[in-house]
Symmetry: D3
Subunit: 214 residues, 6 copies
Amino acid sequence: MRQATMIFPILFTFFLLLSSSNAAVQDFCVADLAAPEGPAGFSCKKPASVKVNDFVFSGLGIAGNTSNIIKAAVTPAFAAQFPGVNGLGISIARLDLAVGGVVPFHTHPGASEVLVVVEGTICAGFVASDNAPYLQTLEKGDIMVSPQGLLHFQVNGGKASALAFASFGSASPGLQILDFALFKNDLATELIAQTTFLDAAQIKKLKGVLGGTN
Amino acid sequence: MRQATMIFPILFTFFLLLSSSNAAVQDFCVADLAAPEGPAGFSCKKPASVKVNDFVFSGLGIAGNTSNIIKAAVTPAFAAQFPGVNGLGISIARLDLAVGGVVPFHTHPGASEVLVVVEGTICAGFVASDNAPYLQTLEKGDIMVSPQGLLHFQVNGGKASALAFASFGSASPGLQILDFALFKNDLATELIAQTTFLDAAQIKKLKGVLGGTN
Amino acid sequence: MRQATMIFPILFTFFLLLSSSNAAVQDFCVADLAAPEGPAGFSCKKPASVKVNDFVFSGLGIAGNTSNIIKAAVTPAFAAQFPGVNGLGISIARLDLAVGGVVPFHTHPGASEVLVVVEGTICAGFVASDNAPYLQTLEKGDIMVSPQGLLHFQVNGGKASALAFASFGSASPGLQILDFALFKNDLATELIAQTTFLDAAQIKKLKGVLGGTN
Amino acid sequence: MRQATMIFPILFTFFLLLSSSNAAVQDFCVADLAAPEGPAGFSCKKPASVKVNDFVFSGLGIAGNTSNIIKAAVTPAFAAQFPGVNGLGISIARLDLAVGGVVPFHTHPGASEVLVVVEGTICAGFVASDNAPYLQTLEKGDIMVSPQGLLHFQVNGGKASALAFASFGSASPGLQILDFALFKNDLATELIAQTTFLDAAQIKKLKGVLGGTN
Amino acid sequence: MRQATMIFPILFTFFLLLSSSNAAVQDFCVADLAAPEGPAGFSCKKPASVKVNDFVFSGLGIAGNTSNIIKAAVTPAFAAQFPGVNGLGISIARLDLAVGGVVPFHTHPGASEVLVVVEGTICAGFVASDNAPYLQTLEKGDIMVSPQGLLHFQVNGGKASALAFASFGSASPGLQILDFALFKNDLATELIAQTTFLDAAQIKKLKGVLGGTN
Amino acid sequence: MRQATMIFPILFTFFLLLSSSNAAVQDFCVADLAAPEGPAGFSCKKPASVKVNDFVFSGLGIAGNTSNIIKAAVTPAFAAQFPGVNGLGISIARLDLAVGGVVPFHTHPGASEVLVVVEGTICAGFVASDNAPYLQTLEKGDIMVSPQGLLHFQVNGGKASALAFASFGSASPGLQILDFALFKNDLATELIAQTTFLDAAQIKKLKGVLGGTN
């Protein structure tokens, strides 16, 4: 230990030299949700105010409420909910599906997704650009990947509730739910009919269900 | 000119030194459609076989055939049609819309799009992830951008045929047409109903139109 | 419709659950030109203040003024002019060339370019790193790609004025015009001579034309 | 249905026009492990031979064998094991930790990681470049992110076995285990001592445990 | 010269047309260290305040102080020290190694490194993920590359002091020094022992040397 | 040591479990110059045939021959010369400048450059898109950055020969030498005059020097 004591002052010099480089290190960029956002993500919190809690998120430990028409719930931990992933190219969401639950057709414009089934049985599928469907019934522990931007869905095909986690290769993968995009806004029924070939009656019915107008 | 003759042998040495670096230059990577493809695009043609025609494409000079139900035609110049753009992060397509023509709701999973109207009037729109629609009637020379992966459409809202070019920030932006993805394959009607909330009768009708089964 | 009314409150719950994820979606990042800029582009406007006009630009509908020595005009719709493309990896510019018009040798340091000829005839060309020129006379509807960073030019080789659009795989492709870079500043004539092999008289003549000094 | 039959031939034309663009779509790039690999990942399987099984992996449904000195097992589903994620910027691994199990200090040179605890309790931690440790005891459902390239570890701090999934923002995140890198090869003991400040006896002891030589 | 005078006013018009595009050019993004930082780097200084000194750094012209226990000094010119490289994907550092000097095992989480030896002889090495070491004694003018995120070191193996420059493919490559990450903080000795297999005595000894606690 | 012997078989199991993940690690991608090239770089050599020499390059240890008209030599270590940097986003070149030596105006279309002066004095400069020149006389140890794609040059402004290293943020940064691009090929003199405003006599003179025709 004597030696240690002796060399400590010298090593400290070494540390000083290097510490300026450490200041340059951008190991992470915890989102400061109040600061300006840029194309690459949210601004970073000042290093001095970063805490371990910024890298930990407990919101996925709680089951989502599936008492709704789709008997399903999606709980995201994207950069807006989980600031620690900002700029790191990764995020995650929890999926709860009661018996008969459905996450309807949707896309993530900004990332591919890997789904891992933790409880129950889920029928998952995506449709490729050549319109070929890729469907699979996933048991506990199975994983399936849905490529970026393609329409996909999840259905609880089993007799018990199902739990899964969906990982994304972006901190802000986005989420566009097909039915909501078409029917949960004020797009004119006629325009939707023209651009989807759906019957006006069908469109009006779903607008009624989802709260759309026009 | 005498001087030039004198210094030529010396400069040639300079050229020789630098020419090895030129061999390293990957100015472009013209697609060799027959070679293995990778995540970043097609393999490159051997430099010696690259010709100016690889960088030029005349296919967009010809109007697409709009004698179809949507009265519209899309002619792409993506890397698969136009090998010169491979790896360069850019591509383009020609849109022809007869009076009443429609390019129905679709997405490009791999790129954002800028549409420029060259003839006629086009009503273009996209829907954001929060379900807000962004619609605009575009006159000749107007441009509109549709962000990557979001549902969008084009409709000829005028009294004459319309022509537009759509540029993409990828050599292979992809194209998923909503109706085709849902109705032009063998996805079970019941599964589509479950994941879109559409009525079975509506689904079967469109499957009939588009050639889908089940 | 009764059914719809019945299930509406339940679906609303579903919407609430998902709406937090929607807040995380970065579909787009409309440039806030007054806020700090970063390496990936301009800061984003607050989502609440984004309007459809941010995604539409009408400036390219107007012919540029070609009453100048090069008989040509370039009208850009880059992120600084067209904030909607910020962060989306795409932008566009309008080229007007009167008879005999020329866009002289230039580079775009940040993106490759696809040129589409809409009216007239344009002789376009680029020079590769191995000094090989790639030239083509483009008719209406023809397209040509110029790889990122390489010297290229456009000349109206026809008997009528020409119109083209140039698309770029970046929202801020940049533009360095060779003659301006060399002769439209205060670089010493001697230094330019040394680094270009041009004669001093030639340099001084072009400095005179373009407003350079020294 | 009659109407459908009538318009079918016309729509087919539309499909033909678009199908060439579909050929250009690179929705995914399932790894062909036998073909040449490039910097962006493995070569793609021919589209015609892609099957749904390429996007599904069942290997994570089986508990890893924790009958080893660290009482832990890591089962990866990276591109080399799960070809469907190739080029999609995402992958996943299963972690099994028996009571007292440890995944020792390691880095992933190519990606950040999000850990989600599915069973049991895990103490996870990483050390930042400024040497600050970030430690947290994670319960079921908790998640924690470890930024790219930083040293991190997982320890089962509970009284039951633990199960977790680690997601990565790359199809090939890499894995460098500190002890293996230092002691499980033929690096000379003296050189390790010089570059780690560890005592030679300590180095030789761990070389013995891990099978290193010299 | 007359001709020049004549055409000047016309060319000026050309310049005006193009100058708006020049405003859009993001040639560089000199770091404004006081403004918010984002995932892609520091905010940019206002163009008007950029000066040539932003692109030049003289700090590497001075030898680092090697009067310390490792007989070595690292002087970085990363974005935090050299604002001109911000956003440009490149940075550099100076390495001084006295006789017997050592830069101990470390990683750069954010970039690969090319080392060029300018004076003396350096033994450099990295360890790959499969634990294979790659070692080489480098003479003046030799270069060696260490791939991103892998453990590597440099040792002055010669009889004179050595000087090298390390280039990085990132403006903020980061630097995690193994010994500092393990021993220069308050990580509990027991936890380090558990996650490194090192003996507690060894850990305590190095904590003593480096200033760690617990 | 007994303990070590005892636990070795168990740890070996641990190693086996992890070794499959190691196979997935793409630490590096040493260029196989004979295999197909893609947009992201050269194909990778098979891991089994990678050797330390792939990561080391001695070609920069030898002074380039400056007995030429520019009294300068550039020796690149790009991916084509130094396969170890392939895919790693970094490369380097050696610059030798005799007294009065000049590296004339050139661009690197694919990367920014950091120049470090090792011997002598170099006047370096680049021109930004707004035509502003940034010039600096660099002494030994000084560094200067030239942003991607911008015209820049180096001149030996001192009384002794100069040596520098240029680092690039790409394994294949490219190199377009202005004079060679304009005058060392068969571009018609008239076309060059039209697109550069240079006089035909000047063009013909330089074509004569550099070996251009037409």
